[in-house]
């Protein structure tokens, strides 16, 4: 593995470590009252420690310095010198966020890494029980990687001269017990120059009274070397506490103390390495990963998903052929084909599962967003996450980050009341935001719930009227008023705040969710809180589609977009002056958009009475009725992108291949409605 590969592998590993770190901090927070267990603190410590270790190897000094201070604080915690309380926990969370920033900076090589705006390092030092340090001293206290270039003599010129040393060396039994070997030490020492070794066995007792584990032998060495004395010290570095050692310089030309011939080193305790044949090639560290995972490039997975999609389509075509050939239903061929279909489905599901990831990292990011937002808004917030292990398609997770961030900020900014107001209302001062993920009937449900004041419906209505989003005299239900939040250009905050007022409204959140084939709904209870529920498909590779015929063409409409299907009576259809038509549904007039005419398959029809209408809900128009000729059936279709081959086609989301091999376009309802109503200002009456 190249150094650069290891470096990038390090950053990937750090993602896991940051996850473990945040998870550990959350756990400590959860168990704040009953007292955390040591293993949790240990795990947190280890994560920071490992990041520091790796960072040191790549000379990421800013990262090492901060990680070191962080680690010191955690060590104090581990050793029980300091105890956890909410302020310390907040500091640790902040430190984790900062560590994450530093990693990001190190990864991208950006320069901002060295700025520590909050002086977090000093805060950490203080929390660790260290004396507070002034700005000037801070650098000195910072961790400086210690370098011991043992093999490079850095001696000043006057030291480079021959020296003669007498070395008295008496090992203790611990020296041997710790795996040291005097013969190895002597060999290394002998490499420094010319050496004489004299064994002193005067302490050796009679064989009968010999304790074979005790150390009985002393050594007297004479070494003549050009190397500086510290090189000799270094040889004994690892044993100096395990022996009696005396190193004395001797006059250079003095005769050796004893010309006795050099004895063999003593017979040692058990040999250090059995000479067994060695096999086993160098082992791959990645295979030994405790989670037993492989990292695969996403491209490869997507290619696999694509091919499996083709397989499923191919199987459907084959079934169709067999049926068309008139093969009887219970024939062996049909039975085998059924097995094939089941297997193909199973493969497809398994392959899709590869793209699924636990939503945990996303939720952890939200914890951070909530912390930062609560600081800016100066509100006390607790974010509780549930169902973190819920698995969701990777792309869905990625594209959820922005909408969720926005909603969490909204909840902090607009949802939760200030602490004094909460106290006044008899609520706990700390606002609670609950983020939940769960699988429900083949979809993923994500809930963002706050215990704030709920939606101020009179205010919402007032603003909507003020902005001309609603007719002045219109009577709206509570649900409809809540739905106004999703209208483009709507923003309740009378003063644009630092937090959520960033030019992004809930309409953007809604369209982001819908582009993932999802839906978002609000439930709000005044004084009790607001709950946003997002329902998402498990995967972006297949879609539940309604197969329809329009002007002689077969098309697919995503089922997630369809509210209901209906066949109106001719009397329900009203033609407006512009020629546009509307349909009356339960007292509301809903604009009609003819899929056949907007895609150019046919001219607009005079009256859509007796046509099939698909009622779809969109952000801009609220409800809209799409006209189709017939509904065939509802089935899962494999999504095939069109954009690489054909570019963007307005009103068309993608394509799919039907069982008979024909290609069908998948309609993007939102866009289709936009085209059909020319983005016009259709005034709704309620």
């Amino acid at each position: 593995m190249e150094q650069s590969d290891i470096r990038s592998a390090f950053f990937v590993e750090c993602e896991d470590l940051m996850e473990a770190l945040n998870e550990g901090l959350d756990r400590i927070e959860e168990t704040l009252d009953e007292g955390h267990d040591d293993e949790t603190v240990n795990a947190v410590f280890r994560a920071v420690h490992s990041i520091k270790g790796g960072a040191g190897a790549f000379k990421l000094d800013a990262l090492v310095r901060f990680a070191h201070q962080f680690e010191t604080t955690l060590d104090s915690l581990r050793a029980g010198r300091v105890s956890v309380d909410p302020p310390l926990l907040a500091l640790l969370h902040k430190a984790a966020d900062r560590l994450s920033d530093l990693l990001q900076a190190a990864r991208t090589g950006s320069e901002a890494a060295d700025i520590d705006p909050d002086d977090l390092a000093a805060q950490l030092a203080q929390a660790a029980g260290e004396e507070e340090v002034g700005e000037a001293d801070a650098e000195d206290l910072g961790f400086v990687p210690m370098r011991l270039d043992l093999d490079l003599p850095v001696a000043a010129p006057d030291e480079v001269q021959s020296g003669r040393y007498s070395i008295d060396f008496s090992p203790t039994r611990a020296l041997y017990a710790c795996g040291n070997d005097t013969s190895i030490l002597f060999r290394v020492l002998g490499d420094l120059g010319r050496m004489e070794v004299r064994l002193d066995r005067s302490r050796l007792p009679d064989f009968d009274s010999l304790d074979w584990q005790e150390s009985w032998l002393d050594w007297h060495l004479t070494l003549e070397t050009d190397e500086p004395e510290h090189q000799i010290d270094e040889v004994f570095e690892f044993v100096e506490d395990l022996c009696r050692l005396e190193i004395r310089p001797m006059p250079l030309e003095a005769p050796g103390p004893d010309p006795e011939p050099e004895p063999d080193p003593e017979p040692d305790p058990p040999a250090s390495g059995p000479a067994a044949p060695r096999k086993a090639p160098v082992e791959d560290g990645r295979n030994a990963s405790p989670r037993a995972t492989v990292r695969v490039e996403l491209d490869r997975v997507d290619r696999l998903i694509n091919i499996v999609g083709e397989l499923v389509i191919n199987q459907a075509m084959l079934s169709q052929c067999v049926q068309d050939e008139g093969v009887p239903p219970r024939s062996p061929v049909r039975n085998r084909l059924d097995d094939f279909r089941n297997l193909a489905r199973e493969i497809q599901e398994s392959v899709m599962a590869i793209r699924a990831q636990a939503i945990k990292p996303l939720f952890q990011r939200m914890s951070r967003i909530a912390r930062e937002a609560s600081e800016i808004a100066q509100k006390q917030i607790r974010l509780v996450t549930e169902g973190e292990s819920t698995e969701v398609d990777k792309t869905v997770i990625e594209r959820l980050a922005d909408p969720l961030t926005h909603m969490i900020r909204n909840a902090v900014d607009h949802g939760i009341e200030p602490a004094d107001r909460r106290l006044h209302l008899g609520k706990p001062p700390v606002g609670l935001i609950t983020l939940t993920a769960a699988h429900r009937s083949g979809r993923v449900l994500i809930e963002i719930k706050d215990d704030g004041g709920g939606i101020n419906r009179p205010r919402v209505l007032e603003i909507a009227r003020g902005k001309g989003l609603v007719a002045p005299e219109a009577q709206l239900t509570e649900e409809e008023i809540d739905g106004l939040l999703f209208m483009p250009g709507f923003s309740t905050a009378s003063v644009v705040s630092d937090l959520s007022g960033r030019g992004v409204g809930m309409d953007v959140v809604k369209s982001a969710i819908e582009s993932l084939g999802g839906r978002i709904t609000i439930a709000s209870d005044p004084g009790v809180g607001t709950t946003f529920t997002i329902s998402l498909p498990l995967t972006l590779a297949v879609l539940d589609g309604m197969v329809v015929d329009v002007g002689g063409q077969t098309m697919v409409v995503p089922v997630s977009a369809i509210v209901e299907t209906l066949r109106p009576r001719p009397t329900d259809i009203h033609v407006l002056g512009s020629g546009d038509q509307v349909v009356a549904i339960r007292g509301s007039l809903v604009p009609i958009v003819d899929c056949g005419s907007i895609f150019g398959f046919r001219a607009p029809v005079r009256s859509y009475g007796e046509s099939v209408l698909l009622l779809v809900e969109t952000a801009r128009q609220k409800l809209c009725a799409l006209v189709v000729d017939t509904i065939h059936d509802q089935r899962q279709v494999v999504i095939k992108g069109l954009e690489n081959g054909y570019g963007r086609i307005p009103g068309v989301a993608a394509a799919t291949i039907l069982g008979d091999g024909r290609i069908a376009l998948i309609i993007a309802p939102e866009e289709a409605v936009d085209i059909g109503t020319s983005g016009g200002t259709f005034s709704m009456e309620f």
């Binding site: 593995m1 150094q3 290891i6 592998a9 390090f10 590993e13 240990n42 795990a43 410590f45 280890r46 420690h49 490992s50 520091k52 270790g53 790796g54 040191g56 190897a57 000379k59 990687p145 210690m146 011991l148 270039d149 043992l150 093999d151 490079l152 041997y176 017990a177 710790c178 795996g179 040291n180 070997d181 013969s183 190895i184 030490l185 060999r187 290394v188 040889v235 570095e237 690892f238 506490d241 395990l242 040692d268 305790p269 058990p270 040999a271 250090s272 390495g273 059995p274 000479a275 067994a276 060695r278 086993a280 160098v282 082992e283 791959d284 560290g285 990645r286 030994a288 990963s289 405790p290």
Partner: protein
């Protein structure tokens, strides 16, 4: 015969760096992810020396050293501890557990070779 080294560290990055440096230096390298894994791999790897991290899940470096020293056939196996600091306390604990030597992180090939040649011979 090359010197065979078993390197134990829970960090994938450090394992790769150890492997890289040790292979460069001409050693045969086996890797383990924590103390327990190291113990399990000891018999198959038959190393001349072990390099181990201290802070690891499941079984830390101290635990590993103690467990090794309890086995008569490994009582004299040279074990080098990887430490981030030169903290005397840490060294004392490692020593108490039966560590042979230590290497202060960040390490490089020269440091590894220097420590290994002072404790092990093929």
């Amino acid at each position: 015969m090359p010197l065979t080294v078993l390197a134990i560290d829970d960090s994938r990055t450090i394992r790769e760096l150890l492997r890289e440096a040790l292979v460069q230096a001409g050693f045969e390298v086996h890797l383990a992810i924590d103390g327990l894994d190291g113990l399990e791999k000891l018999e198959a790897a038959k190393p001349h020396a072990v390099i181990t991290d201290i802070n690891m899940p499941r079984m830390d470096g101290f635990g590993f050293i103690r467990a090794v020293r309890e086995q008569p056939q490994h009582s004299a196996l040279p074990i080098i501890v990887l430490t981030t600091e030169s903290a005397a306390e840490l060294k004392a604990r490692a020593r108490e557990a039966g560590a042979t030597a230590w290497i202060v992180k960040p390490f490089d090939e020269a440091k590894l070779v220097s420590a290994l040649r002072r404790v092990a011979v093929a």
